[in-house]
Amino acid sequence: MLELGGIVEAVGEMISSVMGSLGFGSGMITLMQLLTAALAVISFAAVLTLFLVWMERKVSARFQMRVGPYRVGWQGTIQTVADAVKLLQKEDITPVNVDRAIYFWAPVVTFVAAVAVYVTMPFGEGLIVRDLNIGILYIIAITTFTVIGLLMAGWSSNNKYSLLGGFRSAAQVVSYEVPLAIAILGVVMLTETLSMLEIVHQQSKFYQWHVWRQPLGFIVFWIAGTAEVNRTPFDLPEADSELVAGFVTEYSGMKFAMFFLAEFVNMFTLSAVATTLYFGGWNGPLLPSWAWFMIKAMAGVFVLMWFRWTYPRLRVDQLMGFAWKFLLPLAFLNLILTGLGIHFF
């Protein structure tokens, strides 16, 4: 059994024993362990993005009966590594008219908001940095920071496409945030906890998965989540054909790469949260827990990619109407049904 939890624990032990023998206090040791964890998670996010970009291109290609990247490495696996190296060498053009400070910090905010979610993500048994007692609420809160990053990028670029893209994006993300949060409430009512770890523990058997008791909630969650991460059919903010990539129009080089990274990390986050809340997290037979988590989360990511090649993009008026007039009442209905269900069954 390849359980990574033991390795993580061993690394933590090692840090504490080495630093302990050097005479550091327990506060410093905890800090060092956290730093290591943060670096590990961010590296994971970067490698994951490289993989997801490759997967996206491969899946897209297969849907269109092409082969996709296949020259660099086996089946084109290191194509994205080459792309990343290329992006690193690209000139970083800052237009003269931008609001420099905000323009600079926008990718930072977007990226940090994307990775900070992983503080409390249960990747597997023992593979969680900190089990925050407000887990899922924290995740909802921190992902909302993405909006601020997008608004900063859109406004500071001083470009009409960016401005439109940024505002559309903000309006969209905040609109879909509401049904998303209320859909999650259904799960919280069943589990009576916000802690991600506890939610996973309560779904240890296949028939205990929350998706069976919250099918409506899951559908609302998944649709709203797809809109949250700006994926097709809700990709209006970056609508390539009308807004020339929206809020990232004026970004180039590594700053652009940061937005790109955040976008793919967010996509995985949505899938990972869905896995944890509705599909039993890392619970599963035979395989190690982290493998189950990755399998489920990757299946979710695949569904998102599948959406992209199945549904056409919505119009902006349909988009807002859909959130407020359809998803939100549906989310409330789910909440009320869950409340009734708990009482009478």
Binding site: I93, V96, N97, V108, R130, A171
Partner: protein, 118 residues
């Protein structure tokens, strides 16, 4: 408890550090050859027409306002949801009243045509 949120702080700092480090790294490798045309605002090859920081549709504010109302409501509902199973039917009825007041507000906004996007 405190060290739980120290983890969040460490993550935020390391995240910022990672981005700054990467930008610095690319600064070493990338060329820098600015010129006025390259640095002008992109507008499909045309000369940029006026600034972008202009008045825009008030509708964005309305959606932002609605978001604030409903998100605050969701925040109120979280503690309720955690304690729901031990609170009994009373909590359910009470929350039904709370939700219906807000849904009434939503219906009003809907009727007024605020949810319409032109």
């Amino acid at each position: 408890m405190v060290s739980d949120f120290a983890a969040v702080a460490v993550f935020l700092i390391v995240g910022v550090g990672f981005v700054l480090f990467t930008l610095l790294l690319s600064k070493i490798f990338r060329p820098s050859d600015p010129n006025p045309i390259k640095q002008s605002t992109y507008e499909c090859g045309e000369e940029p027409f006026g600034p972008s920081w202009i008045q825009f549709n008030v509708r964005f504010y309305i959606f932002a306002l609605m978001f604030v109302i409903f998100d605050v409501e969701a925040i109120f509902l979280f503690p309720w949801a955690i304690a729901y199973q031990s609170l009994g039917l009373f909590a359910f009825v009470e929350m039904l009243i709370f939700i219906s007041i807000l849904l009434f507000g939503l219906a009003y906004a809907w009727k007024k045509g605020l949810l319409k996007w032109y």
